[in-house]
Subunit: 168 residues, 2 copies
């Protein structure tokens, strides 16, 4: 743990350091998804359902098109998953009054409950990781990961302040 780390200030980009980033991301994502996967399996859902539940919960009244932009999958792929969530009453849809072609998606009570169960495990993981470090490390984590995201989507990830502010 105290190898080249002590050469703090100057930022040498050794291949080793870059590969370490790649591997951290791989392992973190692998473990980060494992617990929710187990919960989802109890309901006959998969990881794709989780993503839909998460982002609908996070962006109440999101439309299908907006959801597709976040997930970057095809309409057909989404519809299979979303259709099942609506059928099983985890997600509710209603027409947008101002443009009745659009369907606004929200979580039902049941959906919120599942969302919370799933997200709790992932938040606990982050809470632990944050607590093991400090505020500066967390800020560094944010800035580096934001830099990994394609520039056009970085704005999607910013802590929202006011309740009921909806999506960006």
């Amino acid at each position: 743990m105290a190898d080249l780390k002590s050469t703090t200030k100057p930022l040498f980009l050794r291949e080793e350091d870059l590969r370490q980033g790649i591997e951290l991301l791989f392992y973190a994502y692998r473990d980060f998804t494992a617990e929710p996967d187990a919960i989802l399996a109890k309901w006959g859902f998969g990881r794709a359902h989780h993503r839909v539940i998460y982002f609908v919960g996070r962006n109440p009244n999101i439309t299908v098109t907006e959801l597709l932009e976040i997930l970057k999958i095809t309409k057909q792929s989404l519809s299979r998953v979303l259709g099942k969530l609506i059928e099983d009453e985890f997600i509710h849809q209603r027409a947008d009054p101002s443009d009745r072609r659009r369907k606004l998606l929200t979580l039902t009570d049941k959906g919120q409950e599942l969302e919370r169960e799933l997200t709790t495990t992932q938040m606990a993981r982050f809470a632990r990781a944050y607590r093991e470090t400090d505020a500066e490390a967390v800020e560094g984590f944010r800035r580096v990961l934001a830099g990994i995201i394609n520039p056009e989507d970085r704005a999607r990830v910013r802590p929202r302040q006011r309740p009921g502010s909806g999506r960006g």
Copy 2:
């Protein structure tokens, strides 16, 4: 970008901050895998092949069992992917002289070439992200992501110094 960030030192774990972590990880992983996926498609390979190529390249002479421990998938899942990579001569296997049940896996020249092409895109992404920040941010990123990984696997991700040191 300068919201609650200025409350630097004390580490309040607001749900917003935890959800931001979740979302950063989702978007980062989504974009991080997109470029390699496109390269792999040209060869008729998928993301699973990439992971095998990457970790064999990273750990020359790794065994099948060790690879399974890293990937956390079943032997049957791996064998389909690994079998194709061996058949197409991206990966070479030979018996371990000291225990001939074990097969030691290495990249062929062709395999190394593909590995480099794939990894270059991901290293470039990290190089950009690292350069956009500073050494402290990078260190924070490392520590937080390491905290997301299950404790028993954290040791896997540490920059290796000496060439030919093999896996841990």
